[in-house]
């Protein structure tokens, strides 16, 4: 997946701001004719988990998903990826992420340690749901 530098910056910034809670949101962009998936914008979502579990869980309600899809379409874009942060945990999908993952969308995960955004990784669910497959994340202008 290709993303602009501002997408990376915004995800890291959101992750740091939400710390010690999990931040979550969408990456909007385009599927290019070449087959490249190109993320151009982020859209922050509300983590609807109750306060005490927001440190370790995130949840974006279906209603908010529909709103995000509308927002993307009104800009001529599509939802390409879902991002979330892992406060004080590695930037690897958890068993819980896998259990609830959607096919098709890329999952971006940023590790936030002590309020500082660190590693950012990109994943795609395997068709049989057995695992997440690590994807290249390329910063493109």
């Amino acid at each position: 997946m290709e993303v602009t530098e501002s997408v990376i910056k915004e995800i890291r910034e959101h992750g740091a701001r939400a710390y010690p809670y999990e931040a979550c949101g969408f990456v909007l962009g385009r599927f290019e004719n070449s087959g490249t998936v190109r993320g151009e914008k982020t859209l922050e979502a509300v983590n609807s988990r109750e306060a005490e579990s927001r440190r370790r869980r995130f949840n974006i309600e279906a209603e908010e998903f529909l709103e995000a899809e509308k927002a993307a379409q009104s800009q001529g874009l599509d939802i390409l990826a879902i991002y979330h942060s892992h406060p004080d945990h590695p930037a690897r999908p958890s068993a819980n992420d896998l259990e609830k993952a959607l096919p098709f969308y890329r999952y971006l995960i940023v590790r936030v340690a002590n309020g500082q955004a660190e590693e950012l990784t990109c994943w795609l669910l395997a068709p049989d749901r057995s695992t997440f497959l690590k994807q290249n994340l390329v910063i493109a202008p």
Binding site: C24, F58, I60, A62, S94, L102, F104
Partner: protein
């Protein structure tokens, strides 16, 4: 009479790219069963190993989430707008 169920982008790879599928059924649950009969590869994404509908699978009938109606028992009829909508969840726990 078949009823049209709108398929979200994330799942169109399993419905031959179709954004809506015509199905026979009187309830939301029946439509979902018919959908997975027609496209068996969808089953693992909609249901867990115990055959329970995954928590992130939502169905909206005329703009209302059936979780606040009668769930899978919610009746459907021709002319209603019926859409499958994902919620997104995860986290670093477990």
């Amino acid at each position: 009479m078949p009823i049209a169920l709108k398929i979200p982008t994330a799942l169109r790879g399993f419905t031959d790219g179709l954004n809506q599928v015509e199905l026979e059924g009187e309830t939301v649950g029946e439509l979902l069963t018919k959908l997975t009969e027609k496209y068996p590869d969808l089953t693992t994404h909609l249901y867990d190993e115990d055959g329970t509908l995954r928590s992130f699978v939502n169905v909206f009938v005329d703009g209302e989430n059936v979780k606040s109606l009668r769930g899978q028992q919610t009746k459907v009829r021709l002319g209603q707008s019926i859409m499958l909508v994902p919620a997104i969840a995860g986290g670093n726990f477990g």
